[in-house]
């Protein structure tokens, strides 16, 4: 049977344009403007999703501040610096909750709703996808942490920068911590293969880390973990770094923040950077391999 068909044809200009379209565009894939546009697409969409739901916005931003206010409302006899330590521990938990729950929930939604089937058919950069989601996560995690600190200020908790170097250390430590914990959400989402299960597991990880390490390492006396380990765990280390640089005291033992001794050296920031780099590599590999099905590395 003949299968020749009459097909609609456009102008010569149209056909020439199509021929040009067919040329490989791998060089264009590496266009930094395209990469930034794709990353910003994911960032804006993640923020819009939260913005469009007051319930979700309140849950992820206000939850740690409300938790801190409940804690203070129970009555604390300690000094204002003790409240500051507690607020930082809870604020970090709020940031981790955003990183694990929200980042994971949005990723799981895209997987479960088969949007990655559409993404895979587009010339997208998995690294731009990851970076865009992380940028949104950073904004929301920062907002959650800041809301808790504002609640602390409103209730009389005392904060102060230890020195000018504290500003970059606090910013970098916060950024690295968020990067690490957002990547932790990726294997949880992939292993759960179900949006609801991923939500529960990621929330559980955030709460369990908070409780088992004594307010994320802010109050070691309330943690079953003893010794120096709290200065090396990826949730307790940044919390203790922030406590050291934001709370104006040296009486760490009296306030329940020591032992172990506070992580004061830059080597602890370097360790946190190491965690984040390893996590970033792992996250890129996981997204590239399992969400985009494009091998182990972009």
């Amino acid at each position: 049977m003949s299968t020749e068909t009459q097909t609609g044809r456009g102008s010569d200009a149209d056909l020439e344009r199509n021929r040009q379209d067919r040329e490989p565009t791998r060089d264009r894939d590496r266009d930094p403007r395209r990469w930034l546009a794709q990353a910003s697409a994911f960032t804006r969409r993640s923020l819009q999703e939260v913005h469009n739901s007051w319930l979700l916005l309140g849950w992820v931003i206000a939850f740690p501040a409300i938790m801190y206010l409940f804690f203070v409302a129970q009555g604390t006899d300690g000094p204002a610096t003790a409240d500051a330590i507690i607020s930082i521990g809870i604020g970090v938990m709020g940031a981790l909750f955003v990183c694990l729950y929200l980042f994971g929930d949005q990723l799981a939604g895209d997987l479960e709703d088969r949007r990655y089937a559409a993404y895979r058919s587009m010339p997208l950069s998995p690294a731009a996808d990851l970076a865009g989601r992380m940028a949104a996560g950073l904004v929301l995690a920062t907002a959650a942490f800041a809301a808790t600190i504002l609640a602390g200020v409103a209730t009389g908790a005392e904060y102060s920068l230890r020195g000018p170097e504290s500003i970059p250390i606090v910013v970098v430590a916060g950024l690295l911590t968020c990067v690490f914990w957002m990547v932790v959400a990726i294997p949880i989402v992939l292993a759960a293969d179900n949006e609801s299960v991923a939500e529960w597991v990621s929330s559980l990880v955030a709460v369990a880390a908070f409780i088992l390490t004594g307010f994320n390492g802010a109050l070691p006396a309330q943690s079953p973990i003893e010794g120096e380990l709290l200065n090396y765990l990826p949730n307790a280390l940044p919390t203790r770094l922030l406590v050291y640089h934001l709370v104006p005291t040296e009486n760490w033992t009296e306030l329940g923040a020591a032992p172990p001794a506070m992580p004061t050296g830059l080597e602890f920031v370097a360790l946190l950077a190491g965690y984040a780099i390893v996590a970033l590599v792992a996250g890129t590999v996981l997204l590239n391999r399992y969400a985009y099905d494009r091998g182990w590395w972009p």
């Binding site: 299968t3 097909t7 490989p24 969409r45 949007r115 010339p123």
Partner: protein, 305 residues
Amino acid sequence: MAVSDAVVTASGVRKSFDEEGVLEDVDLTVRDGELLVLMGPNGVGKSVLLSCLAGSDRPTEGSVSVFDEPATARADTTSFLLQDALCHEKLTGRENVAFYDRLHPEFTDAWRDYADRLGIAEDLERPVENYSGGMVRKLELSIAASIDVPIYLFDEPTAALDLPTVQTVHDLFREKRAAGKTLVVASHRPMDADIADRVAFLADGEIAAAGTPDELLASLPPILETGTAHTGALADAIRGDPYAVAGNVRGFLPADGDDPDPAVDDAAAATGIDPDDLAVAEPTYTDLFNYYTNTGPDERPTHNR
């Protein structure tokens, strides 16, 4: 290219999930500038095949090439509309459009025209979670059609749409084809065959037939029609199962010859239906669809793919 004007070629494609095969042995060629309608009932694997053509899924066995390269390497040449997979329900229609505008380097402003023609321009500020199924389909179609690429792969684009909108969608597809674009449209609605340059039927995990609509209609065996309610009796005289068309019941006669009258007489004798209540009907796209979905592979002729 291996075939003079082939832009997409699937060879021996098998796709299985958890050891359950969906596609068994699919060979299909899509030619430059044609509008190919991929037909088949629900669940037969049309979406899976389109996903393979789009480079979104890898075949378990076999290969898919687009412009002579693996489909997974040519994501820049296709726009893939997968049912209910593009839009985020928590965002408004406009926010969804803006997302893909930033995301895809070939996204154009054509979405404004498409949204207007499909009747959703006034609804773009509403969250997609408040859209009906048809509105979601229109928004997805507006987005996918606005990406300026040589090949469009549309999965069930007319499902859940009312008839006037289907005509608008058909016009849109004709315009794409006239602009030199290649389209593959998966559908289970026989009326979509009306816009096809070629139709390919997916059945039993493979392409059961492919050809122009006229060729495929001409290849059908004689169609027996009755207005009586003797559907059960009719089943004894036809290939496959009887089916309803416009209040009548139809089925395919076993005869392949030019003169179907003896077969009609045989059917009347076999069923007990009055010969005056039996007639040979002109084939339609509905008959074509039923032939390749209701009859077994051993009862069908083989066509080019």
